[in-house]
Symmetry: C2
C-alpha cells in the first residue's frame, strides 16, 4: 500500500520510526516557520509537521498552500511532541510526524462545505455533496456501526444454522399491500416485473423446499408517499424457520437483541424480553409499540365518569365510549395553562380528540381544574385514587372512542416523557407485543382485511371461532418493540390449506384472485408444507436505535429525499426515447 | 421447537432416548406388519418404524397410507437396528426410531415429480415447481455451499477492516455499457430510475468519502439477450480500497482464493497466484481467461509459413497475418478424419476461421497431412521442432488474423482438452491476467472504446503515450481466472482529473456528455480523491466453480430462464391499467 500506517495508528512507542501516511488535510496552521497539518483518514487524525530541518523551504511553501480537504502523502519520522503540546483527546496526541517528503495526490477545489465545519449545512446540500457529508465523523461512525450490526446479525444466524439465500429482485407484482415499483420487460412486451415489498412468498417457498432455516439481509421496495422515516428502498433482516412456534422465534431474536446490545453498547439485557399481548399494550399504553422506558400508564375511569355530573364524561361513558387518563407525575408546576392549551389543540388536531380534561393535584391533595366544579368531591377522590395522584401530579383525560383515547393518550405519553426527560438517550428498552387481532374492519370497503398478511396463522385456541367470530380471533403474531418503535415483526404462517381457504373466504379473496396473486404459494402448500414462521427486522431502524439517531437518512449511505430523489446522482432522470421504444412504452404527460 | 432432534442427528449413543422428529416422507415400505419410513429433512434421513408393539393398528394403517413428500411428526424411542439391517451409507444408519405417535402435519398431493426420483424431469418443470426441485440433495448442497462461500467472503473482508456499505438499487440510468433495467417514477412523471449494472460509481464515491475499504455483496442487473450462463440479475462481491496499487488488490484476493479453497475443498493453494500479462495470455493461450489446467500452448510458425510453398500459409504470412498452431499431444489416433473435418467446420462456423490445417506425427517422426505435399521436408521439420512434435501428436494450425487465430485456437484447446479428459473435475487452477489494453477500436463507429470502463487508470509508464499512442497504453487492470473462466475483474481508477479528461477526450466523451452521465463522480474527484481501485468477483460463478457445476441456474435459488422469465411466479406479468396510469405510462403494441 502507498502508506505504512493509517492516521489513527501511531503511538509514543513508534517514535523514531520512518513512516508514510496518506490522508485528507483536515486543517493546517503556520507556526514558527513550519506548517502543521492535521491529517485525517477513517482511522483517526495524526499531526504532521512540515518544517526545518527535515523539510526545505520549497516543501514548506508547498505545504503552506495545500487546500483543505486535499489528499496528500507524506513520509517522515515519528517524533515526540514538545512538552505542553500533546493532545490528550487524540489517541495519536503524543506524537507527530516530521515530514521529509510531501506529495499532493489530489488537490481539492474549495468544497461547498467542509466535514469539520461547526455548523452543518442544510440537508439538501449535504445530500447533493454526499461524498463530503460522508466524511463527517458522525456519518463515518453511523456507517461503521451499520456494518457492524449487520455483521453481528449475520454471524448470529450462521451460528444458529441458518442458510443465507438470495431471493429475486425482479419479481411479480401482487396488488396486495403497498404500491409496487414496476420494471417493464423488453422481452415480454406489455409485461412488468415488480420489485419485492418483502421476500415473504419466497421465504415461505424455501420452507416448503425444506431449507428449515433461512436468513437474508434483503432490500425491499415500496412506492409510497414518503413519511420522514420511510425510504423507497429499505433493508430487512428477513428470516424464516420450520417446525417452530411463536416462542421459538421470539427466543431466537431475544438472543440477537442481547448479543447486539452487548457488542455495540456493552449492555447486558435480561432475557427473556418481556412480552405483552396486543390487548394489554393498547389498554395500558394505547399503542401496539409502547415505549416502556417510562411509566405513565393509561388508567380507565369510565366507571367513575358514568357517575359524575360532568356532561362530557358522562355522555361519553353512557354512549359506550371511554374516559381514560394518564398521571404525569410531578409535572403540574412544569406546565402552564398556556402549555396545556397547546397540548389540547395538539391532541385535537393530530389525534381527532374532542378535548383534553386535566386536573392538578394541589399541595393539600385536592384536585384543581377549570372543570373541577362539575364533579362531586367523592368522584374527584375516586379519580385521584385510581390514578394514584400525589401533590404536583398532572392528571390528563380523554373522553372518546377506544381508538382515539389510545392514540391520543399514547401521543401525550410520548411527548410529555420527552419534554420532561423521563428517560435517558442511553436507555434501551426491548419487549414483545403478541397476539394481534387477525383482522381489521376496513370502514371504506366494509370488509375484513388482514392485520398482517393473509398467510398469518390464528392462535390454535381461536380456530373454532374463525368462521363465526373472526373479529375475536388473534394471530400468532409478534412485534419486537425497542424504545417505542417497531423494530421487527413476524408471524407463524398457515400451513394447512383448509385454514388458508377459510382466511381467504373471510378476506373476500375468491379462488381465481388467490390463484392469480399467489398461486405458486398455494400450490406449494399442497405438496408437503411444514409448519413455519418467521420475522423481519428493520435494519435501518435497528441502526438508528442503536446509534441513538432520529433521522433514517443518517444511517443510509445514499438515501433518497421525501420526493424519492437522489440529489447526488439526480435520479430519477429522463431516458432516451430509444430505451422506451425497446420497452414498448410511451410516457403520458401528467394531467395539469 | 416441534422436534427434539433433526433427521441427521441421531446415533447409536442415542439409543433409548425418547425423541420427536419432523420431516418429509422420502419413501416408505411395508415389512412384516410394520411401516418403514425414510424421514428426510435438510440435515439427513432417519428410518422410522411404525409397527407393533409401539404402534397400534390404526396408527400403522395411517402410516401405510401417508403420501410421499407429506410432512409428518413422529414421537418414539431410538432403537438399534436389527443385525444386518444397518445402513453404512447413512450417518444415522445404525439406528431407527420406533414410533409411538404419528401425526400428518401436511398431507402432500401427488407431486409432478419427486426429489428422489432417478431421472430428472426437464428444466422447465423443475423451474415451475422450484419448491420440489430445491428439495433435491444436489440443490440443497448447492444452496448451502453458496451460503458458506458468501460467509467466507464476508468474514474474510471483515477481518481485513472492510466496511459493508449498501448502495442503492434505484439509481440513475447511464447509457454506457449494457442495457439498463428501468423503473418508472410515479412522483416524477416521465422520469426513470435504473437498476445498477454494478455499484461502480457509488464505490468510487465511497473512496472519495474516505471509507478506505468498502465491500458489498451486491445485486447487479443487465437487460441483455441472455446467454446460457447469464442472468438478468446476478450477484457480485464488490470491493474498493484507497491508497493501493494493483498488487495490493491481487494479494488480497489471493488470500480469499486460498481461504475458500481450503475451507470448501480442503485444498492448499500456493500463493501468490501466478500472474500473466494480457499480451502473454493471448500469445500463449489465445484467451484473456486461459484455462491453465492443461498445456497445449499456442506456437507461432508464421516465420516458417513465410518460407513454404503452401499458398494459404505463405499468403497469410505475406499479408502480415499469422499462422499459429497447437500440439494436441498423443491424440492423432483418437481423432478420425471425419472428426477432424467436424472440428474444421466448427472453427469455421463458430470462430470465422477459413480452415484448419493439421499434421499427424507418424511413428517414424515424419508429418502426415493431406497438405503435407505442399511443404518441403525442411519446413516440415522446422514446424515439427517448433511444436515439439512426437509420434502420435496431432498438430493443428490456423492461418488468419491475430484475433481469429486466438479465438479459434483457444476454442480448439478447450474443446479437445475436454474430449481428451486432460484435466480432472477436481482440479482448481487460479491465476491473474494483468495489463489489459486501455482501449479497443470499435470498428463500427471507428472510435476508441474503453476495454474496462472510462475510469480505469493507465500504467504509470504508459502515461506519456496516452495522448499519441493510446492503442499502446495498458491499463492497471487485473482479471482473476479460475479454470478458464473469468471469476472476477478490477482496475485501479484514475484519481487525477487531468488524466480523466484525457481519457474522455480519447473516448470522444465531450464535457457535456461526461457531466450528464457521471457528473457527480467528476465533481467528487475534484474535492479530494484518494488513489483507489477495486475488484468485483462473480459470486454465482464462484459457487459454480467451487461446486463443480456448469449451469448457473443450479446455484441460484430462483433463477430466470433465457427469456428472463420466472416460471414459478410467472414474472414478468401484466399489471392493472391503473398502475400504469399512476406511472404516467402507456404500453405500445409490439410491431408484428
Amino acid at each position: 500500500m502507498l502508506r505504512t500506517h493509517n492516521c489513527g495508528q501511531l503511538r509514543k512507542s513508534d517514535v523514531g520510526t520512518e513512516v508514510t501516511l496518506c490522508g485528507w488535510v483536515e486543517s493546517k496552521r503556520d507556526h514558527g516557520g513550519a506548517v502543521f497539518i492535521d491529517l485525517r483518514d477513517r482511522y483517526g487524525i495524526t499531526q504532521v509537521v512540515i518544517g526545518p530541518p527535515e523539510a526545505d523551504k520549497s516543501l514548506i511553501d508547498q505545504a503552506g498552500h495545500v487546500p483543505a480537504e486535499s489528499v496528500i502523502l507524506i513520509r517522515g519520522k515519528v517524533s515526540d511532541r514538545l512538552e505542553g503540546k500533546t493532545n490528550e483527546k487524540l489517541p495519536t496526541g503524543e506524537i507527530e510526524v516530521r515530514s521529509e517528503h510531501f506529495e499532493i495526490l489530489n488537490a481539492a477545489a474549495t468544497p461547498p462545505f467542509t466535514p469539520g465545519q461547526a455548523e452543518l449545512p442544510g440537508e439538501d446540500l449535504r445530500l447533493k455533496y454526499r461524498f463530503l457529508d460522508l466524511r463527517r465523523t458522525e456519518m463515518q461512525r453511523a456507517m461503521v456501526l451499520r456494518s457492524r450490526i449487520v455483521k453481528i446479525m449475520r454471524d448470529y444466524f450462521a451460528q444458529h444454522d441458518f442458510i443465507d439465500v438470495e431471493t429475486p429482485i425482479l419479481g411479480r407484482s401482487t396488488p396486495e399491500g403497498a404500491r409496487d415499483y414496476l420494471v417493464p420487460s423488453r422481452v415480454h412486451p406489455g409485461e412488468f416485473y415488480a420489485l419485492p415489498q418483502s421476500p415473504q412468498l419466497y421465504k415461505q417457498i424455501l420452507m416448503v423446499a425444506g431449507f428449515d432455516r433461512y436468513v437474508q439481509v434483503a432490500k425491499c421496495f415500496r412506492d409510497e408517499d414518503l413519511r420522514a422515516d420511510r425510504q423507497p428502498e429499505f433493508t430487512q433482516l428477513d428470516l424464516e424457520m420450520s417446525f417452530v412456534d411463536a416462542d421459538d422465534i421470539m427466543s431466537l431474536i431475544d438472543g440477537l437483541v442481547a448479543a447486539t446490545a452487548k457488542e455495540v453498547l456493552g449492555k447486558d439485557i435480561a432475557l427473556p424480553l418481556p412480552r405483552m399481548t396486543y390487548e394489554e399494550a393498547m389498554r395500558r399504553f394505547g399503542s401496539d409499540a409502547p415505549d416502556l422506558r417510562f411509566g405513565m400508564e393509561i388508567v380507565d375511569v369510565t366507571d367513575v365518569a358514568k357517575k359524575t355530573e360532568f356532561r362530557v364524561f358522562r355522555g361519553t361513558a353512557d354512549a359506550g365510549k371511554f374516559v381514560r387518563g394518564i398521571n404525569v407525575k410531578n409535572a403540574a408546576d412544569k406546565y402552564s395553562r398556556r402549555q396545556i392549551d397547546e397540548l389540547t389543540s395538539w391532541v385535537q388536531n393530530d389525534f381527532g380528540a374532542k378535548g383534553l380534561a386535566w386536573f392538578r393535584v394541589e399541595e393539600d391533595g385536592s384536585l384543581w381544574s377549570p372543570i373541577a366544579k362539575n364533579f362531586d368531591a367523592e368522584h374527584l377522590a375516586e379519580i385521584k385514587e385510581k390514578l394514584d395522584g400525589q401533590p404536583n401530579d398532572l392528571l390528563m383525560f380523554l373522553a372518546d372512542t377506544w381508538d382515539v383515547t389510545c392514540r391520543g393518550l399514547s401521543g401525550l405519553r410520548k411527548r410529555m416523557a420527552v419534554e420532561l426527560e423521563l428517560f435517558s438517550p442511553n436507555d434501551l428498552n426491548c419487549s414483545w407485543v403478541t397476539e394481534f387481532p387477525m383482522f381489521e374492519r376496513d370502514e371504506e370497503s366494509d370488509r375484513y382485511v388482514a392485520m398482517h398478511h393473509p398467510f398469518t396463522a390464528p392462535l390454535a385456541d381461536d380456530l373454532p371461532r374463525l368462521k363465526d367470530q373472526p373479529e375475536k380471533c388473534h394471530a400468532q403474531a409478534y412485534d419486537l418493540v425497542i424504545n417505542g418503535s417497531e423494530a421487527g415483526g413476524g408471524t407463524i404462517r398457515i400451513h394447512d390449506p383448509g385454514v388458508q381457504q377459510q382466511v381467504f373466504d373471510l378476506l373476500g379473496i375468491d379462488e381465481e384472485t388467490a390463484k392469480d396473486r399467489f398461486g405458486f404459494l398455494l400450490d406449494a402448500l399442497k405438496y408437503g408444507a411444514p409448519p413455519h414462521g418467521g420475522i423481519a427486522l428493520g435494519v435501518d431502524r435497528w441502526v438508528m436505535l442503536f446509534a441513538g439517531l432520529e433521522n433514517i437518512r443518517e444511517v443510509i449511505a445514499f438515501p433518497k429525499t421525501q420526493k424519492a430523489s437522489d440529489l447526488m446522482t439526480e435520479a430519477p432522470g429522463e431516458v432516451d426515447s430509444q430505451q422506451l421504444e425497446e420497452l414498448h412504452l410511451r410516457t403520458i404527460k401528467a394531467k395539469s
